[in-house]
Symmetry: C2
Subunit: 143 residues, 2 copies
């Protein structure tokens, strides 16, 4: 396994493995820049046949209010605190609200149920530009 910056306990997760993890998981988190810092919001998502990360938003929420396409970060992870190990995948790419009827119809076929009451009528798709994954595993402490 390739390692990161010479740190043997930190492995790179390969692109096919990142893709598999993205299709397997159902919950991720987006980071939205607010002024000079960023805030993190969990949400459920699905991956489209074109490999986009797709999620639904309610009118009036932060992400929905973005009129133009923007670059955002999206993360999934799986952490085992007891075994002090875990992995994470970070997707950076352009997110935009989908308005084209054809594309919208396709996205509505995805297994993307909102978790609670409320329309969540708007679909946002994030086209992955950069996808990186890392896995940490419990090694021997040197200090």
């Amino acid at each position: 396994m390739p390692v990161i910056e010479g740190r043997s306990w930190l492995e790179i997760v390969s692109p096919p493995e990142c893709d598999r993890l993205l299709r397997e998981q159902r919950v991720g988190r987006i980071a939205l820049v607010v002024g000079a810092h960023a805030e993190i919001f969990p949400l459920n998502y699905a991956v489209s046949d074109r490999g986009d990360v797709v999620f639904r938003t309610d009118p009036g929420t932060k992400l929905d209010m973005l009129k133009d396409p923007i670059t955002i970060g999206f993360e999934i992870d799986g952490v085992d605190a007891d075994n002090r190990s875990g992995w994470s995948v970070l997707v950076v790419g352009e997110a935009r609200r989908v308005r084209e009827p054809d594309e919208l119809a396709r996205l509505k076929e995805l297994p993307l149920e909102p978790w609670a009451a409320g329309e969540k009528a708007n679909y946002v798709r994030l086209r992955p530009g950069k996808v990186t994954g890392r896995r940490i595993h419990h090694g021997t402490r040197t200090s």
Copy 2:
């Protein structure tokens, strides 16, 4: 329970409950602004006796390279995908690397073991400025 923006399935998590969750969990995620977007990195953390979120970093990593105190977002969550419910707590505040020997000695008493080999010699503390929590629960779909 107070609700958010009239959405009855989205409850506000009270400040004492946010505090309890922060002290109970061990893994969170920070959002770092990179250019015009933000990226998310999971890490393990502890809460100090002063209520700061404390974590360790390796020299050369993104966060360690920040020389001056900066405002960052930090998030924890607990999601039950099968039951389509979950909660999240977002902390926004000033993060800075701790260099003062007295404070460093105090932080080294925290249960903040690195998960793997490597020194992670640097301590960063995030002083919570704004702490917000929300809980979503599975309601009846209206659409």
